[in-house]
C-alpha cells in the first residue's frame, strides 16, 4: 500500500465539501458613538504637592480645576499642563461649580466660605467671598442662567446667591442634619438637596419644599461607634432630567473603618422613589465619591477605599458594563464638557485625565 493509500485518497480541492465557517456574530454597534468606556485609559496626569479632593472642568473645556488638602485650588491648562495655584480659602474645598457659560468659578470650603473667581483669567484671584454657612460648605451648584448659585452645608441650610455679585438671595433650613449636596434641576425651576441621612428634598426657588424622598441605602447609624455615616457624596441628573443619581456608601458594618460598599441610588425625579441601585459585580470596600451622567446615557462613577475604581453603568442593569482599576483612592469625578474624557483627583496628590474614546 502506497503511502498515499495509507493516508487516504486526497480529493481534489475543488471537489472537497466546503467547511462550515462558524458564523461570526456581527460586531455590536458601538453603544455610544465615538466612545468606548471599556477602553478607558489614563491620558494625562497632573501632580500637586498635597492630596487632592475635588475637580471640575471649566465650561470651555480648556482648564481643569482641582482642590487639595493644603487649602488651595489648582488650575491646570489641559493642553500644556501649566499649573496655577489659587489661594484664598482657609480650609479644604470640596465644592466647585461654574457658570454654564463662564467665566465665574464658585468654590465652597470647609471654612464655611463661598468664593467667586474668574476661571479663565491669567491669574485668578478671589472676586467675592462670603461666609455662607456655619460649618462646612459641602455642596454648590449654579443654575442654567448663570445668575443664581445654591450652596448647602453642615448647618443644614440651603442658600441661594445672586451672581456675579454673590449677594444673598434666600436661605432656609432645609435639613436637620448636615446637608451634603444641592443641585438645580435642568428646568431651572426646582432644586434638590440631600443630607447625611439620605433625606432628599425638592424645593422651589422660594424655599418651599415640594416633595421628599429618602435614599435609605445611603445611611446607617453605627450603634457600635455611636455615629451616623452616609449622605450623598456626589449627585447628578440624567440628561433628560427625569432621574437623579446619588453616590455614597452602603452595607456599612464598621463606620470607623469604612467597611461598606460603594453604591449609586437612582431616584425618579417626579416621585423621588428609588428606581434602582447600581453596584459593582465584585464587592469593593469603599465609598462612591464621584458620579457623572454622560449625555450618551451611561453613568461614570468612581470610588475610594481599598484602592480606587472607575465603573461605568447603564441604567437598567444593576452592575457595571465596564471598569478600570485605579492606581489610588479616587475622591471625585468630573466629565469634560465634550464628553470624551473625565478627570479624577486622587489621594496621592495627582489628578488624572482618562480618555473614553476607542483606541485608534
Amino acid at each position: 500500500m502506497s503511502q498515499q493509500e495509507k493516508k487516504g485518497k486526497e480529493l481534489p480541492k475543488k471537489d472537497a465539501p466546503k467547511k462550515e465557517e462558524p458564523k461570526k456574530a456581527p460586531p455590536p454597534p458601538p453603544p455610544y458613538p465615538g466612545l468606548d468606556p471599556a477602553q478607558a485609559r489614563m491620558a494625562k496626569e497632573f501632580k500637586h504637592s498635597a492630596p487632592m479632593l475635588a475637580c471640575r472642568f471649566t465650561p470651555s473645556g480648556k482648564f481643569l480645576y482641582t482642590s487639595g488638602q493644603d487649602n488651595t485650588l489648582q488650575r491646570w491648562e489641559l493642553a500644556s499642563g501649566k499649573k496655577t495655584d489659587l489661594a484664598g480659602h482657609s480650609s479644604w474645598v470640596r465644592a466647585l461649580a461654574f457658570q454654564p457659560k463662564g467665566p465665574l468659578l464658585i468654590s465652597g470650603g470647609y471654612d464655611g466660605q463661598v468664593f467667586t473667581w474668574n476661571a479663565e483669567s491669567p491669574d485668578p484671584i478671589p472676586l467675592r467671598q462670603v461666609l455662607a454657612h456655619q460649618g462646612w460648605v459641602r455642596g454648590l451648584d449654579v443654575d442654567a442662567t448663570g445668575n443664581l448659585a445654591a450652596s448647602c452645608g453642615n448647618d443644614g441650610k440651603v442658600c441661594l446667591w445672586n451672581l456675579p455679585a454673590l449677594t444673598p438671595d434666600k436661605s432656609w433650613q432645609a435639613h436637620e442634619k448636615h446637608a451634603y449636596q444641592v443641585l438645580f434641576h435642568p428646568s431651572g425651576k426646582e432644586l434638590v438637596s440631600v443630607d447625611l441621612m439620605g433625606n432628599t428634598r425638592v424645593w422651589d426657588l422660594a424655599g418651599k419644599m415640594l416633595r421628599e424622598g429618602e435614599a435609605k441605602a445611603l445611611h446607617k447609624y453605627d450603634a457600635g461607634f455611636g455615629a451616623d455615616i452616609g449622605g450623598a457624596r456626589a449627585i447628578a441628573f440624567s440628561p433628560d432630567g427625569n432621574s437623579i443619581v446619588l453616590a455614597g456608601i452602603t452595607n456599612v458594618s464598621n463606620a470607623f473603618a469604612g467597611v461598606g460598599n460603594p453604591i449609586l441610588v437612582v431616584l425618579d425625579w417626579a416621585t423621588l422613589k428609588v428606581k434602582e441601585t447600581l453596584q459593582s459585580k465584585e464587592k469593593f470596600q469603599g465609598t462612591m465619591w464621584g458620579v457623572a451622567w454622560h449625555k450618551a446615557g451611561f453613568l461614570a462613577a468612581t470610588a475610594g477605599g481599598n484602592g480606587g475604581m472607575l465603573w461605568f453603568f447603564k441604567p437598567g442593569a444593576p452592575n457595571e458594563f465596564a471598569s478600570l482599576k485605579l492606581p489610588d483612592n479616587a475622591r471625585d469625578l468630573a466629565l469634560h464638557p465634550e464628553g470624551k474624557s473625565l478627570a479624577i483627583p486622587f489621594y496621592g496628590s495627582t489628578a488624572r485625565i482618562y480618555d473614553l474614546t476607542p483606541k485608534s
Binding site: 498635597a50 492630596p51 488638602q69 493644603d70 487649602n71 482657609s90 480650609s91 479644604w92 470647609y110 471654612d111 460649618g135 462646612w136 453642615n154 448636615h178 457600635g224 461607634f225 455611636g226 455615629a227 451616623d228 455615616i229 463606620a255 470607623f256 473603618a257 469604612g258 469603599g286 465609598t287 475610594g304 477605599g305 489610588d328 483612592n329 489621594y347 496621592g348
Partner: protein
C-alpha cells in the same frame, strides 16, 4: 498581683480613715500633714474622668495644627486664656480654658487600644506578672469613706457593662469599678413591696449570721467584697434618687442634651454632688480610621456642650476646686491623614486636658513640633500623669501600698508629677 488580704490582717491596705489617721506603721500615710488631713476631711475631693473611647484626635481638640500638611480642615480658635488655641470643634469648652490645663507632650509609646487604656488608667505598662489598680480604684480606696453609700468607683458607660473587680488589682475587688450601664441605676435597688422594714431587718440579720459563720472559716478578699457589696447596696437603696436624672428641671436636662453623653454628664454631676468619689463617663467612639473629620464633628459636637455645661455647674456649686477633671483617651491619632480621610492610632505625641482640684488653671505644659509628629518639649508618659493626679488630690505619689507587707508603689517609681501644672 492579686489581692491576698484573706490573711485576716488589715496590713494589706489602708482605708481612707486609716490613711487620715496616720497609719504610718503600715507605711501608707500618704498625706503630708495633719493639716492636710483636716482639710481633706472637711472638703471631700472627687474625680471626674471623661473617657473619649477609641482615641480622640489631639489635632481636632487640644493641639490643633491648622494650615499644615497634617492639620486637617479645622481651624484653631482662641480660648478664655490669651495665647491658648484649641480646635474650632470645641467652642464652648474654649470658654472654660481658664479652668483647665493642657498636657500637650504625651508619649505613651503604645498604639494598642487595650494596652494604651491600661497605661492611661493605671499609669503603668502591662506586666505579665503584675497588675496594677486603676486610678478609680486607688481613689476609691484613698478617698471614699466607709459610710459613703455610693461605690467608690462609678463607671458610666453607654450600653451595658463597665463593672470590673479586676480594675482594683491588688487593692481588692471591693475597690473595683461599678458599672452604670446606660446611665441607669444598678438593678434591684427597690425593695420588693411584700417585704416591710421588720422583715427586711430580719432578712439582713440572717444573712449577716450566715456570712459570719462562713467568714470564720473562709475569709478572703472576694468574700469580704461580697459582704461589703451587700452592705453598700443597703445604703445605696436610700440614694437611688441620685440616678433619676428626670427629676431635674427640663431646662437643666436640655442644657446637657438628651443624647446618651448629655444624660450621662448630668448623672455624673448628680453623683458627684451626692458624694461620689470617682465618676468616669465614657463617650464613644473616636477610633476614626475612616472619615476622621466628619466623625469628630459629630462626636465632639456631642461632647462640647455637655462637658462645658458640667464644668459650669460644678463651678457654680463651688465643687470645681475640689474635683479633679480629666479628659483623656487611650492614645491620640496620627498626624498623617490616611487615604480614607482617617487618622490612625498615635501615641507618640498627643494631649489630655485636666482641670480643677490641685491644678493651675489655664496652664499648658509640653509642646509638639509644627506638624504634631513629635514632642519637642517636656515629654511625659502615663506614669507622669498618674503621679500628677495623685499629687493634685493631695497625696504623696511616691508612697507605697502594702500587700502582705510587700511595698507596692502607688505610682510608677520611674515617673514623677508634672510640677508645672500643679497648683
Amino acid at each position: 498581683m492579686r489581692c491576698q488580704y484573706a490573711c485576716g490582717t488589715n496590713e494589706h491596705g489602708v482605708s481612707r480613715r486609716a490613711f487620715l489617721g496616720g497609719a504610718a506603721g503600715a507605711g501608707l500615710a500618704a498625706l503630708t500633714s495633719p493639716l492636710a488631713a483636716k482639710e481633706l476631711s472637711s472638703k471631700q475631693k472627687r474625680v471626674l474622668v471623661v473617657w473619649l473611647s477609641g482615641g480622640v484626635s489631639q489635632l481636632e481638640t487640644w493641639d490643633p495644627k491648622p494650615g499644615t500638611v497634617t492639620g486637617g480642615p479645622f481651624r484653631a480658635i482662641p480660648t478664655s486664656v490669651p495665647g491658648i488655641y484649641i480646635s474650632e470643634l470645641l467652642p464652648k469648652t474654649a470658654k472654660w480654658m481658664h479652668k483647665l490645663a493642657l498636657v500637650r507632650g504625651i508619649n505613651t509609646k503604645e498604639d494598642d487600644h487595650g494596652k494604651g487604656a491600661y497605661i492611661m488608667h493605671t499609669g503603668r505598662r502591662q506586666e505579665p506578672a503584675n497588675s496594677f489598680p486603676h486610678l478609680g480604684s486607688v481613689c476609691s480606696k484613698l478617698l471614699t469613706t466607709d459610710a459613703n453609700p455610693l461605690p467608690g468607683y462609678l463607671n458610666i458607660v453607654p450600653g451595658g457593662g463597665g463593672q470590673s473587680a479586676a480594675d482594683a488589682a491588688y487593692l481588692g475587688p471591693r475597690f473595683g469599678s461599678v458599672g452604670i450601664g446606660e446611665g441607669k441605676a444598678p438593678a434591684n435597688l427597690d425593695r420588693p413591696g411584700s417585704i416591710n422594714n421588720d422583715l427586711d431587718q430580719q432578712r439582713h440579720m440572717l444573712r449577716q449570721a450566715a456570712n459570719e459563720r462562713f467568714l470564720a472559716r473562709r475569709r478572703s478578699a472576694m468574700t469580704e467584697a461580697y459582704t461589703q457589696t451587700y452592705d453598700q447596696a443597703r445604703l445605696l437603696m436610700e440614694k437611688k434618687s441620685l440616678f433619676n436624672i428626670d427629676s431635674e428641671a427640663v431646662p437643666v436636662g436640655d442644657r446637657y442634651g438628651r443624647h446618651d453623653f448629655g444624660r450621662h454628664c448630668l448623672l455624673a454631676r448628680r453623683l458627684l454632688e451626692g458624694g461620689a468619689t470617682f465618676v468616669k463617663v465614657t463617650h464613644t467612639n473616636y477610633d476614626t480610621h475612616h472619615e476622621n473629620f466628619d466623625f469628630h464633628i459629630e462626636q465632639l459636637s456631642e461632647f462640647d456642650k455637655p462637658f462645658s455645661n458640667l464644668l459650669e455647674e460644678l463651678d457654680d456649686r463651688g465643687m470645681l476646686e475640689s474635683t479633679l477633671i480629666m479628659v483623656k483617651s487611650e492614645f491620640g491619632r496620627t498626624p498623617n491623614i490616611n487615604r480614607n480621610y482617617g487618622r490612625d492610632h498615635w501615641s507618640r505625641a498627643w494631649s489630655v486636658a485636666l482641670g480643677g482640684c490641685g491644678l493651675k488653671p489655664g496652664a499648658v505644659v509640653g509642646k509638639t513640633n509644627a506638624t504634631g509628629t513629635a514632642v519637642v518639649d517636656r515629654e511625659v508618659d502615663g506614669g507622669h500623669l498618674f503621679h500628677t493626679y495623685l499629687r493634685a488630690l493631695g497625696f504623696d505619689s511616691k508612697r507605697n501600698f502594702y500587700v502582705d507587707q510587700r511595698p507596692m508603689p502607688m505610682a510608677d517609681p520611674k515617673g514623677a508629677a508634672i510640677e508645672e501644672i500643679l497648683a
